[in-house]
């Protein structure tokens, strides 16, 4: 009888330990920014910044001062308005594609004005910015924009923003900016 009880307690302990080990979140899941979902067209508000998507379009090629940049996919350009809240800050953006893959703003857009990657948000001042992504066209519909502080500090605010409901128009001849 005593042995049975001991075995039952031991089994329970092993099961409890196994359950804890299996459900224990890894560091990648435990230390995440706090993501708020923002519906299409709405203004998103995080602790250090607020942002809104004003529009989007596609460009088959980017014309830069250093020459034209083409792509195997397309360039998705989002026009944003963003502002700081309490402190000057920089922002970074990722496009979470329809397949769940994560596309960072492309470094190939270097030289375009008003790039989100290099701009500083000042408290209380709206800045108009563009975020440019290079991606396959089928990642666009069903995807969303993730705006966050650079290097994704844990427990900091981030915004997962739905894009406009109308599909992006293709801008064939890039307008001079």
């Amino acid at each position: 009888m005593n042995l049975v009880r001991t075995m039952a307690i031991l089994l329970f302990a092993v099961a409890a330990l196994g359950a804890m080990m299996l459900t224990n979140p890894g560091r990648d899941r435990a230390f995440q920014p706090m993501v708020a979902r923002i519906a299409a067209g709405d203004q998103g508000q995080a602790r250090l910044f607020s942002a809104r998507i004003d529009g989007w379009h596609l460009e088959p090629a980017l014309s830069l001062p250093s020459g034209e940049r083409t792509s195997e996919g397309v360039f998705l350009v989002l026009d944003l308005t963003a502002a700081g809240t309490t402190e000057s800050t920089t922002l970074a953006a990722d496009w979470i594609g329809a397949s769940g893959r994560r596309y960072a703003t492309t470094a190939r857009a270097e030289g375009l004005p008003r790039r989100l990657d290099t701009a500083w948000m000042q408290p209380g001042l709206d800045s108009e910015l563009t975020a440019t992504f290079e991606l396959p066209e089928d990642e666009i519909m069903g995807g969303a924009l993730l705006l966050h502080l650079p290097r994704m500090p844990a427990l900091e605010g981030a915004l997962l923003m739905a894009p406009p409901q109308t599909p992006p128009a293709i801008r064939l001849a890039p307008v001079s900016r």
Binding site: G26, R27, D28, G67, E68, R69, T70, S71, E72, G73, D94, S99, G100, R101, R102, Y103, A104, T106, A107, R108, E134, L135, P136, E139
Partner: protein
């Protein structure tokens, strides 16, 4: 509270159990050394047109040519992870090494074939044709060149933080070819 001295057999069993871990560790270590000696580290030898996995990137070397005194490797690079890689050849970056005889050529310049811009990021699902360009020494004569590829290993939960990491470079494959002339 005094307990009677356990019998010799019981004491021996206890000590054997306590020692079994050490014995198992010794045996396992010994067996692993034998296994390592039995299978020598032979790097796979690939040919032009065959793919090799470099960890974050899958690389398919297509042609090795000589252009204006420079050695050019055309290749198709594909990001096989789920996110943009800003250092496709790992961190720290270790692009393929070109070896002639005993000397290793300096780090190549890597550009996109489409517009000759330097390779910065590699986006998932967008394979890029790239060329790696090595500057050759003055006194170079056409001899077979060996390219050494190294791979980063992925660990879902690393030992330090328990987070997904790309750790360390290990040799992945070699390719030996005589550089042709540019088409």
């Amino acid at each position: 509270m005094t307990s009677p001295e356990p019998s010799l057999l019981r004491r021996m069993i206890r000590r054997a159990i306590a020692l079994s871990g050490i014995a198992a560790a010794l045996l396992l270590g010994w067996w692993m050394r034998i296994e390592a000696a039995r299978s020598p580290d032979l790097l796979p030898e690939i040919r032009l047109g065959e793919s090799v996995s470099l960890g974050r990137t899958q690389l398919r070397p297509d042609s090795l040519t000589l252009e204006d005194g420079r050695l050019v490797l055309r290749a198709l690079a594909e990001n096989v992870t789920g996110e943009t890689q800003s250092s496709p050849f790992g961190i720290p970056a270790r692009p393929p090494e070109a070896v002639i005889g005993d000397s290793v050529l300096p780090t190549p310049e890597i550009v996109l074939l489409r517009d000759q811009a330097p390779l910065g990021q590699l986006q998932p699902r967008l394979p890029e044709e790239i060329s790696m360009i090595w500057t050759l020494p003055e006194d170079w004569r056409p001899v077979p060149v060996t390219l050494r590829f190294s791979r980063e290993t992925f660990k879902l939960r690393d030992n330090l933080y328990g987070q997904a990491s790309w750790l360390g470079h290990v040799p992945a494959a070699t390719l030996t070819a005589l550089p042709g002339t540019a088409p």
